[in-house]
């Protein structure tokens, strides 16, 4: 080992952290990890793409309770499905990090607990919005017609849902020791959520009891809002309700996630 001097004079006044800078730092760390993993980028979008290619054509010409085309009904649902399944499973990564001691090391640094969470979930939001762009491009090639503002509003919903679900996913995963326990837990949440929120087909087609039940699922409001936006209707009650639910869900989830990060491992 080198005999050189390690300069260790304590800093007189170590600088304080700022939430923005901390979040950017954590975001860039995880973004670099994602960019290294080409498989994550490509295969993440595969499932909704398969629905688009093999399921979408079945709906062509069928009346889906909407004034628009079947693509304007299906694509918003697939985008939210991408976000729902993708972000719900992000917790796996933090179980691995926890077992490597990475979470604990970061919690001993002065970085704010909110930044530790925000940096991660913003990376996830960027990832799934990027995959969403690929999906929409494929849908355009298959026959989707939707106004640009509506498509952009859709991406905003995807981003907000990802922020929410990824926060909750990390929060739950921090309290789980093994990936084997986490998988069934996530499946138990995502499948009913997908079926009850009308991601594949509008719940207005469902019998009354199922339609009523679906109103208890927050994602129902998001998908209804996105479908309106894809039709070019931006100031409808559905869009406003969807925005309110998405923002409330994001605020609640980030609060829960930050609390869990503060206590993780305690």
């Amino acid at each position: 080992m080198s005999a050189a001097v390690i300069p260790l004079a304590p800093q007189a006044d170590p600088p304080r952290s700022s939430l923005t800078a901390d979040t950017a730092l954590i975001f860039s760390r995880y973004a670099r990890q994602t960019l290294r993993s080409r498989y994550q980028m490509v295969f993440g979008v595969l499932q909704p793409l398969l629905y688009l290619v093999f399921f979408g054509p079945l709906l062509t010409g069928i009346h889906l309770g909407s004034t628009g085309s079947s693509w304007q009904v299906l694509v918003p649902g697939l985008l939210l499905q991408l976000s729902l399944f993708g972000s719900a499973f992000t917790g796996f990564s933090i179980i691995i990090e926890k077992n490597h001691g990475i979470v604990e090391r970061m919690r001993v640094t002065p970085v704010s607990r909110l930044a530790l969470l925000l940096g991660r979930v913003l990376r996830d939001a960027c990832l799934f919005v990027t995959q969403g762009v690929l999906l929409v491009l494929a849908a355009l090639a298959m026959g989707l017609h939707a106004p640009l503002p509506g498509v952009l509003i859709g991406f905003a919903f995807v981003g907000l849902l990802t922020l929410s679900l990824a926060s909750l996913s990390y929060a739950v995963a921090l309290n789980v020791d093994r990936p084997q326990e986490y998988g069934p837990l996530v499946n138990a949440f995502t499948m009913p959520s997908m079926l009850l929120s009308g991601l594949m087909l509008p719940m207005t087609l469902a019998p009354g009891w199922l339609n009523a039940l679906s109103h208890l699922v927050p994602f129902r409001y998001l998908v209804d809002a996105m479908r309106d936006a894809y039709l070019g209707h931006y100031a409808t009650p559905a869009v406003l309700e969807g925005a309110a639910v998405a923002l409330a869900l994001a605020a609640l989830s980030l609060t829960i996630g930050t609390r869990v990060f503060r206590k993780a491992g305690a």
């Binding site: 080992m1 260790l8 170590p14 990475i102």
Partner: protein
């Protein structure tokens, strides 16, 4: 100046079977520049104490000041002033050594240029320069431990917590780490709070040893003083003293065997 001062430090866990009193009122003073060996059998409360002092776990009672900052009132200030090397490595196995060091320095608000300069400085001083571009997952146990210590030093902390730093290391790597810890103290006055399962390590490194058992301090003193006070014969070892203090056969109960493969 004392870098750690605790008074009645307590941690009680609420469980379904009732409260568990993991730490029951620890009074501790660690002066600047000291290497303190913090020992105890499994479940004695040493990890809980260390986690409280490093802000990972809030105390349920008592007070503590760490590097002059109140642990409960300003844990952020404590975090800015301490370094912590956990039992598990805490580095991403897919990231390069240099990238991990730079990111760690940036977490302490060093600018990009300063973080890079500091990382290169530490790589040189801890004999890791040739490994700068290597993935941390490809490092040997001893190399990874040196990286862990380098990570903990990026912000030049006055107080370094080492949680069983040589567990799983081969004898040569252990000896190198001992040498490094001594250098930190001797050349730079770094205060070290060391938990270890190896009594020979505590004997060789620590200026003073504190033994905890069942959540309270059961003995403290220099290794020589403990051996003289609790050993049954003139040639008593720290192992003999530990057995007399706690009634536990420390080695048989808790010491993991050193191996080359595990950090």
């Amino acid at each position: 100046m004392a870098l750690i001062e605790t008074s009645g430090l307590t941690r009680t866990f609420r469980t379904k079977r009732g409260p568990v009193h993991a730490v029951r009122g620890i009074d501790l003073t660690v002066p600047a520049g000291e290497i303190l060996g913090f020992l105890g059998p499994n479940g004695a409360g040493k990890t809980t104490t260390l986690r409280m002092l490093t802000t990972l776990l809030p105390p349920t009672g008592g007070t503590a000041r760490v590097v002059g900052c109140d642990l409960a009132a300003d844990p952020g200030a404590v975090r800015r002033r301490i370094g912590y090397v956990a039992q598990s490595s805490g580095v991403d196995p897919h990231t390069s050594v240099l990238e991990e060091l730079v990111t760690q320095a940036r977490l302490y608000r060093l600018s990009k240029a300063d973080a890079l300069a500091r990382a290169e400085e530490l790589l040189h001083d801890l004999d890791l320069t040739e490994l700068a571009e290597r993935r941390t997952g490809a490092l040997s146990g001893g190399q990874r431990r040196r990286l862990d210590i380098a990570m903990a030093l990026t912000h030049r902390p006055a107080l370094l917590f080492l949680d069983e730093p040589t567990t799983g290391l081969d004898p040569r790597s252990r000896a190198e780490l001992w040498q490094l810890v001594r250098r930190l103290r001797d050349e730079h006055g770094t205060t070290v709070f060391l938990t270890t399962h190896y009594l020979d390590e505590a004997d060789a490194l620590a200026d003073r040893i504190v033994v905890v058992d069942r959540g309270v301090i059961s003995a403290e003193g220099t290794p020589t003083a403990l051996k003289a006070r609790y050993g049954s014969s003139a040639g008593a070892t720290l192992q003999d003293a530990f057995l007399a203090i706690t009634g536990h056969d420390f080695t048989a109960e808790t010491v993991p065997r050193p191996t080359r493969s595990r950090v």
